[in-house]
């Protein structure tokens, strides 16, 4: 992941936020860089029987047990065989580590806060729930993921 974009934004002086970008099923998402603890390659994940479908299982991150969330399932995208080859973005929620399984992790972008727009009302409710805003980049759209919303609903309600 490169830090050049990040550095460029710093010099411009306008209030900006840094996002770790990632793609899930072809769509680009961003998570504020301060929320991200780690980025990992494909990991050995222990499946947990009876767990909600979005939970891919648990993995061992340097002695800590991290719950892996299958982001494709969370977003209702096809997810067969996905967990085995996915990249993992480790975030912390309620003092508990979670690893979000995504297709790819891209560079860190520094985006001016002023350009952040609200999520279109027509978006699938499932997607809208987990998005905090949207950026129009030159060649694509970037949805800002709300880590709290992604993880909050898991385990408390059955989504399927």
């Amino acid at each position: 992941m490169t830090r050049s974009a990040h550095a460029a934004a710093r010099t411009s002086g306008a209030p900006a936020e840094d996002y770790v970008t990632m793609t899930i099923g072809g769509q680009t998402f961003g998570i504020p860089v301060l929320n991200v603890r780690d980025v990992l390659g494909p990991q050995a994940i222990t499946r947990v029987p009876l767990a909600p479908a979005e939970i891919a299982g648990s993995l061992n991150l340097r002695g800590r047990i991290v719950t892996a969330i299958n982001m494709r399932r969370r977003l209702d995208l096809p997810a067969d065989g996905f967990a085995e080859r996915a990249m993992a973005v480790v975030v912390e929620h309620d003092d508990e580590p979670f690893s979000l399984l995504v297709d790819e992790v891209g560079e860190v972008l520094s985006l001016p806060s002023a350009r952040r727009e609200p999520v279109p009302a027509t978006l699938d409710p499932r997607w809208r729930d987990v998005s905090q805003g949207i950026y129009r980049l030159e060649d694509k759209l970037l949805l800002v993921l709300s880590v709290g919303n992604v993880l909050g609903a898991i385990g408390t309600e059955t989504i399927h």
Partner: protein, 984 residues
């Protein structure tokens, strides 16, 4: 460091120490009520209250000080012998203590005393104190000079304490350095008081002269020292100590001829109070010492968080160590091997040491109970004594926290519901005082805590009523349970036996909560009660939770950890095993040593995919394993694919997002770094007990087990038609079903039920086709593809009992005879009769060579039990054998000696006189009998028995209650060459 900061620290110290002191006071006051004449106890109570008062004065806590002062006054009166220890006095002091606790709690929460007045409490205490003597008498405790020792004339401990306190106050108000000295002044006060006591009482310790010397050593100037001495003299004077005595007391302040070396070893602490403590040899942690501690404990206060962190770090270390060892195992010679061994050892020791830091005496969870019981006895108007033993039994802090509330609840229950009113007790011829006993002890990796009372006990009849009324079970289900099982219903949610909801119990917190709390920490709880004699709760809890030993099992290719403490044994069931898994009402069970074990399939519970044949072949598994587990009194089996070894695992909590899954109690990282889930036996057990019948059957079987020696048989007792209970050997019954006969069909003269893809003929006890109405239990007899259902009215119980067949069946068809089962005359039914009624050639199918097909064969049956003779003779006859009976070994010997010829001999092993073993040896000694096949018949058929039988000369060895096995054995032996490898 600013003074404000120091005051905050001081406040924190005060809170910690006061909280402890208050708990001690609670118990001690209750003790005092029982032993009013104990001066040591009274002294200790007085000093604690006095210390609280003094400390509050220093810290500027007027409300606390006032309440403590009033209470101290009353205690002082008691100590002076001017006031007797009455229940009222103790209650008043306890009320003051409660107020102090409230204030301290508020102080802890917001850092300052809450607004408010304590006139109510203080007024009551004042009245008590003043009601007996003039206040002046208390202010002037000193007797005229010449009476008593100098110590007594100085006012004893309380007088000296007060004097030192006054002196320190006075000193602070006059010293120019007051602000800097204030924080240490409390310690100085204690040191002074202690010093006086040492000097005057000549007890070991640091005398008052040493204390003063230390002050100088710690940088006090002479002016301050003499100011303090002056204040001390002034203080004694104000307390009415005679001038001559004051001179003697101040004289003690100066070192006379005694050496000064102890003082020379003083610390670098800035000011007084601490130094004398440090100067005392072998006192490593002086800062926390209390003045009344005779021998300071060698302890250090450590923040809980630090310990928790330490524990977590050690856990990580253990995991890393396991990982390293795992890697090492795969390697041959390696230079790391030796240091790794050392690391291994050190880690284990470190782990143990850190665990030790978390251990606390269980008494810490009991501290409040004496007070609780006392208050209860007053409120309820009962006389109750609480006896506690084993309070110093240590266990993990975390566990201690989780049993505190359950224990309190149980003690409260015992006092409220258990112990009767004094009058009732006397009427029953019991001592007027009820006793609640609380005990704790170590028992092999567990702590066993018992809460018992000698009260009225819990009448089982009442429990039954409640159970039925609350719909927890039906009368019929209860009929099938033992008293002990019924008693366990008190742990079910929504159960309370208190007829009235009192202010004490019945607050909606039931025993189910208690059980949940205990089981959450891997403990088990049992309840026993004898009506009129009392009840007992027995709790068994693990010592620690953090690191446990676990059995690693595999199911559908995924591994899980199962805490070792709930594993009873492992059973491997090979695919070809004759004794496989069976079903009762569609639920799997396994016969483990003649006891029915309800089973759960881990695969089904966890919804894991079925392993296909290919992967199974690859993994090399040729059967399954049953992990026999125990939760509370409930034993059940968990079916898994594979079992690996046990590992020490560090339990980590399950992620919040998965905490709702009741099957898992935690998660952990194995030595190879993989994450696995820890199974919760409680969660799995609840999956089994969803089938209450299976549980009841299993428990009933166990309940009666071991009650009788000798020829014990498991009998299924049931009711059918009229004429009392009937029974059939359980081993003859393949399954127990319940079916609605409306779904059965008539086929010719017979009634059949579609069952498991086949047609099962149904028959009732009279041998007729049953009516097609109503739901009935059905005893299913199975032989290969053949089935028979015997329709009965009600299944009562399964009992294991020694059978003594009392009456022959006589003319009644289908009845072998009667026996006493569970105290009632019970007809033992002749299974063979029904099988034959239903299918005349039941025993003559299913093999290429029918049993006994080549003409009649002569069988000698040597059997002393009438029951088995009656069971076996008709069966063998039906199968086409000609049966001769010998009732004992001697009779059989005589028959053979007289030249009787038998094709096969079937002999019981356990017989009076000549045993089966002896018989076969004698027979084999006879040349004519060398070749005759002899089949052993025994209720014990473990491998050793079989081996022993073979050695003695038996050809085959079968279990008594397996008629098919016997017929099979007979068929085998008569078909095969009879002379096969008989032991030479």
């Amino acid at each position: 460091m600013s003074r404000g900061m120091q005051m905050d620290d001081l406040l924190t110290d005060f809170l910690t120490e006061t909280c402890e002191a208050l708990d001690v006071l609670d118990s001690e006051l209750v003790e005092l009520e029982q032993r009013p004449g104990d001066p040591a106890l009274l002294g200790s109570i007085f000093r604690v209250m006095h210390t609280i008062k003094g400390t509050c004065g220093f810290l500027g806590l007027p409300r606390l000080e006032a309440v403590a002062h009033a209470a101290e006054d009353v205690l002082g009166r008691v100590r002076a012998g001017e006031l007797g220890v009455s229940r009222d006095v103790i209650s008043q002091v306890l009320a003051a203590l409660d107020r102090i606790k409230e204030l301290v709690a508020a102080l802890g929460a917001c850092g300052s005393e809450p607004e408010g007045r304590d006139d109510d409490v203080i007024a009551v205490l004042r009245r008590t104190a003043e009601g007996t003597a003039a206040p002046e008498a208390k202010k002037d405790p000193a007797a005229p000079p010449g009476h008593g020792t100098l110590y007594e004339r100085a006012g004893s401990a309380s007088g000296i304490d007060t004097a030192c306190e006054l002196a320190c106050h006075g000193f602070l108000s006059k010293s120019p350095e007051a602000a800097a000295l204030a924080p240490d002044m409390l310690k100085l006060q204690f040191a002074l008081a202690k010093g006086f006591e040492v000097s005057l009482q000549q007890v070991p310790g640091i005398d008052i002269a040493d204390v003063m010397t230390c002050l100088t050593d710690n940088g006090w100037n002479d002016g301050d020292v003499s100011l303090l001495a002056g204040e001390l003299a002034e203080a004694f004077r104000s307390l009415g100590v005679a001038e001559g005595d004051i001179a003697s007391l101040t004289g003690l302040l100066r070192r006379s001829e005694k050496s000064e070396e102890s003082a020379a070893s003083g610390t670098d602490d800035a000011h007084g109070g601490i130094a004398p403590e440090a100067a005392r040899p072998a006192t490593p942690a002086p800062a926390t010492e209390k003045p009344d501690a005779a021998q300071p404990a060698q302890t250090l206060r450590v923040n809980i968080d630090v310990l928790e962190d330490l524990m977590t770090l050690v856990s990580e270390l253990v995991l890393t160590r396991n990982q390293l060892l795992q890697i090492m195992r795969g390697q041959g010679d390696n230079p790391f091997a030796t240091p790794l061994q050392r690391l291994n050892q050190v880690t284990t020791e470190l782990q143990e040491s850190v665990m030790m830091t978390r251990m606390q005496p269980i008494g810490n969870a009991w501290g409040k109970l004496p007070r609780l019981v006392r208050d209860l006895s007053q409120e309820l108007g009962k006389k109750i004594e609480l006896v506690m033993t084993g309070a110093d039994t240590e266990l993990d802090r975390q566990i201690l926290d989780s049993i505190r509330d359950p224990l309190t609840h149980m003690v409260r229950n015992s006092a409220d519901h258990g112990i009767e009113a004094a009058a009732d007790r006397l009427a029953r011829g019991k001592p007027e005082h009820g006793t609640v006993e609380l005990s704790a002890r170590h028992e092999g990796g567990h702590i066993v805590v018992v809460v018992s009372d000698d009260g009225r006990g819990l009448p089982t009849a009442k429990i039954r009523e409640k159970v039925v009324a609350n719909g927890l079970a039906t009368e019929a289900q209860l009929d099938g349970m033992s008293e002990q099982q019924i008693q366990q219903f008190i742990f079910r949610p929504g159960f309370s036996t208190a007829a009235a909801v009192t202010s004490v119990s019945g607050r909606g917190v039931g025993m189910d909560v208690v059980r949940n709390n205990i089981e959450k920490i891997g403990g088990i709880i049992e309840f026993q009660s004898t009506e009129g004699a009392g009840s007992r709760f027995i709790i068994k809890i693990p010592l620690t939770l953090a690191i446990v030993s676990a059995l690693i099992v595999e199911c559908s290719g995924e591994r899980f950890a199962l805490p070792q403490n709930s594993v009873v044994e492992l059973v491997r069931i090979s695919r070809n095993s004759p004794k496989g898994l069976e079903n009762i009402n569609g639920r799997p069970v396994y016969r483990l040593r003649d006891r029915l074990l309800p089973l759960v399939s881990l695969r089904e519970i966890l919804g894991l995919p079925e392993e296909d044949d290919r992967t199974r072949a690859q993994s090399g598994a040729d059967g399954t394993y049953v992990v026999v587990s125990q939760v509370g009194a409930f034993v059940f089996g968990i079916i898994v694919d594979k079992v690996f070894d046990t590992e020490e695992i560090v339990v980590k909590p399950v992620s919040r997002s998965m905490r709702h899954i009741s099957c898992f109690s935690g998660t952990t990282i194995l030595g190879d770094g993989r994450v696995i889930m820890i199974l919760d036996p409680n969660g799995l057990a609840s999956a089994v007990s969803a089938a209450p019948h299976a549980e009841a059957v299993a428990q009933a079987g166990r309940g009666e087990r071991g009650a009788h020696g000798g020829e014990a048989v498991s009998l299924l007792v049931f009711e059918a038609k009229s004429g009392g209970p009937k029974a059939v050997p359980l081993s003859l019954v393949a399954r127990l079903e319940e079916a609605d006969l409306a779904t059965a069909e008539r086929a010719g003269s017979r009634t059949v039920l579609q069952y498991r893809g086949g047609l099962m003929p149904l028959i009732d006890l009279d041998g007729n086709a049953p009516e097609l109405t109503g739901k009935h239990p059905i005893l299913v007899f199975v032989d290969g593809s053949r089935m028979l259902g015997l329709v009965v009215d009600r299944v009562i119980d399964i009992v294991e009992t020694a059978l003594d067949l009392q009456l022959a069946g006589g003319s009644r068809p289908g009845i072998l005879g009667s026996a006493i089962v569970s105290g009632a005359a019970t007809d033992i039914i002749d299974t063979v009769h029904y099988l034959r009624l239903c299918d005349a050639d039941w025993f003559e199918v299913d093999t290429d060579k029918p049993y006994g097909a080549e003409s009649e064969r002569n069988v000698l049956l040597v059997e002393d039990s009438a029951f088995f003779r009656n069971l076996l003779i008709p069966m063998l006859t039906i199968a086409g054998y000609s049966v001769t009976v010998a009732e004992h070994g001697e009779a059989a010997m005589t028959m053979c000696k007289e030249g009787a010829q038998f094709d096969i001999i079937v002999s019981d092993i356990e017989m009076p006189g000549l045993s089966g073993f002896d018989l076969v040896r004698k027979l084999r000694a006879d040349s004519r009998m060398k070749e005759v096949p002899i089949v052993a018949l025994s209720s014990h058929a473990n491998p050793q028995d079989i081996e022993r039988g073979m050695e003695a000369g038996f050809t085959d060895y079968v279990t008594k209650l397996d008629p098919k096995a016997l017929l099979g054995a007979l068929s085998r032996t008569s078909v095969a060459a009879p002379a096969k490898e008989i032991a030479a």
